[in-house]
Amino acid sequence: MTQGRLILSETGRIVMAAIFALAVTLVIIFFASKTPWATFETFVTSPLSSKRTIGIWIDDSVKLALAGLAFSLVFQARQFALGVQGQVYIGGLFATLVAFSPLGTTWIALPAGILAAMIGGAVIGFIPGYAKSKLGANEIVSSLMLNYIAYDVCNYVLRVYLASLESGLTTSASFPPQSIYPAFIPRTRVDFGIVVALATTLVVWFLLYRTAWGLKLRLTGHNARFAAYSGIRSSFIMVSAMTAAGAIGGLLGAVFVQGTAYGKLSIGFEAGMAFEGILITIVARNRPLAIPFVALGYGYLRQGAALMNYRADVPAEVIGIVQGIVILLVASSFTVPGKAMLARLMGNRTAASRATS
């Protein structure tokens, strides 16, 4: 397949996924809302209703893209490490510690905070990888357990060392201004996070498609046995992929706390967003360059659902149902029935049976 055809077919897939998402949402709204059409209109149009909501949409998309990139690295290697949430909390915590250290008021505050967050996240990513390669511990369970542990540790440090009566017991004080991203458009959440997300996208793409490490990683993911026969040390690839993904998860934590949306550490600041990276990377078929677009599209729906919660009678949590159903549909290669039908119309029996099998 040429580059152009590939882009076209992938775009088609993403558009199909979006149509699925809208259709599923419409069905749910019809069940749930007393005024379904008005609610659906709110869902579809409200993210564009003001400068502020557009800003939130962009900011959410930045975070979703980073979460998707973190998952894409491990999924490309067919490792189901699901520890992005924990990495976000530890990354956010480390970035916070840097912000409140003497460094926090200097020009080096942002890079130092990001670096600390990435190291913290990388450690959290490394643990399940190492445990799997050296001890045979299943990475799914150990990474999920680390999510809970990281969440509790972050809350502990926040409650005991960072929160105060003035700041409110569930948040830290605001970061010094040098530790908060500059806003590109005043009084919106459109800030330096965009640069971070785009740069990370390019770096991940480069690592996966332009380095020997990336080739080995993708080979391991496609066919672990073939990779092993050709002399690739799959355990090294496994651990390094999980560690690198952990660094991105940590980076996302820094983007959360250093961004203009927060500019401080709060309990549960991630609000379940890390797991939404699974949807992003599945729809983008783990291709880094597609991830920002998918994130923008899904971020829009997500923002629509949140506003629907305030302006109509359907709770924002319906987005979870939409999300899950879209993952189910996309993961089960939803083009297959259409292909089979097309083949049957063309009178090609064997192709039809192959497509359905």
Partner: protein, 307 residues
């Protein structure tokens, strides 16, 4: 330290362990059945959550056992959906499982909002019922150990006894019936099973449905005993811990039970500790079951690693 040991050895603590183990045991037995036929069920967490909410809502309008059955049925249905997407539509089982978890997290809150008329946190205004406790206080009449037995065994949910029976039933099924042999064969080496005329996908479907039913029961127990009602994310990782118990239990019902009791023990400990170790921060006590699960997996896993 002595205080902790005294607590652990007390009859009330043993009874607490039995209570905390029950939901995990149900879910991990379910996980065992699907793992045996080759599909790791990562959706235990979400299925428990949906089972719990279904049981709560149905039990508000029906007797408690109908509520429990509804939780079981909801779980079985989800297992069937997983089988459909995984076996028929060839989606990866881990992704299918996680999609179910995501649907459960959002879907239960959505349904709860409508069921309570706007409350997104708890089902406090739904008059849901509890599973009755089985009264075995006559055990106290046995000389010497009687009072201890009564403290430990009396007053547990009917479902606790069902869970214990299920360990035996699943063992009997797997090791004493022809269908159980086929079940194990599919998990060990699918091509051999296929050559012997066993359709792996049929058994995988049964495995996933059974696993959903058991996880649904676990959810029902969680929401209908000791704490009655549903709260947002009330499973709080128990389904994932149960998955850990499956991996730890060496694909055997007894092993799975031992692992489930181990995790139940640490959960009970994390509930009891704040009263004893007042200096220890609650957040860190709360991590105990998760830390233990990771450590147990690291120290015990001897499975061959494939990338």
């Amino acid at each position: 330290m002595n205080e902790i040991i005294a607590t652990i050895l007390s009859a009330t603590f043993v009874a607490a362990v039995i209570r905390t183990t029950t939901p995990i045991l149900f879910a991990s037995l379910g996980g065992l059945l699907s793992d045996l036929v080759g599909s790791l069920n990562v959706a235990l967490e979400g299925i428990m959550l949906i089972g719990a909410l279904t049981a709560v809502i149905v039990s508000a309008h029906a007797p408690w056992y109908i509520g429990v059955l509804a939780g079981l049925a909801a779980g079985g249905l989800l297992g069937a959906v997983m089988a459909l997407f995984h076996l028929r539509f060839k989606a990866d089982i881990i992704l299918v499982g996680f999609a179910i978890n995501i649907i459960a997290a959002g879907g239960t809150v959505t349904v709860l909002t409508y069921a309570t008329g706007g409350d997104k946190g708890t089902s406090i205004n739904i008059p849901s019922k509890a599973v009755p406790a089985l009264d075995l206080s006559f055990l106290g009449n046995i000389p010497a150990i009687g009072p201890f037995l009564r403290e430990v065994l009396s007053g547990h949910s009917y479902l606790t006894w069902l869970a214990a029976f299920m360990v035996y039933a699943i063992w009997y099924f797997l090791y004493r019936t022809p269908e159980g042999l086929r079940f194990r064969a599919v998990g060990e080496y699918p091509p051999a099973a296929e050559a012997a005329g066993i359709a792996p996908n049929r058994l995988r479907t049964y495995g996933l449905i059974a696993s959903g039913c058991l996880a649904g029961l676990g959810g029902a127990q969680l929401a209908m005993f000791s704490f009655v009602g549903f709260t947002r994310d009330m499973t709080a990782g128990r389904g994932f811990i149960a998955l850990g118990a499956v991996l730890l239990g060496r694909r055997h019902p007894i092993g799975t039970m031992i692992a489930a009791v181990l995790f139940g023990f640490f959960e009970a400990l994390s509930i009891a500790l704040p009263g004893i170790l007042k200096w220890m921060p609650g957040e860190l006590i709360h991590t105990i079951p998760f830390v233990v699960t990771v450590l147990a997996l690291m120290l015990s896993s001897r499975r061959k690693v494939t990338a």
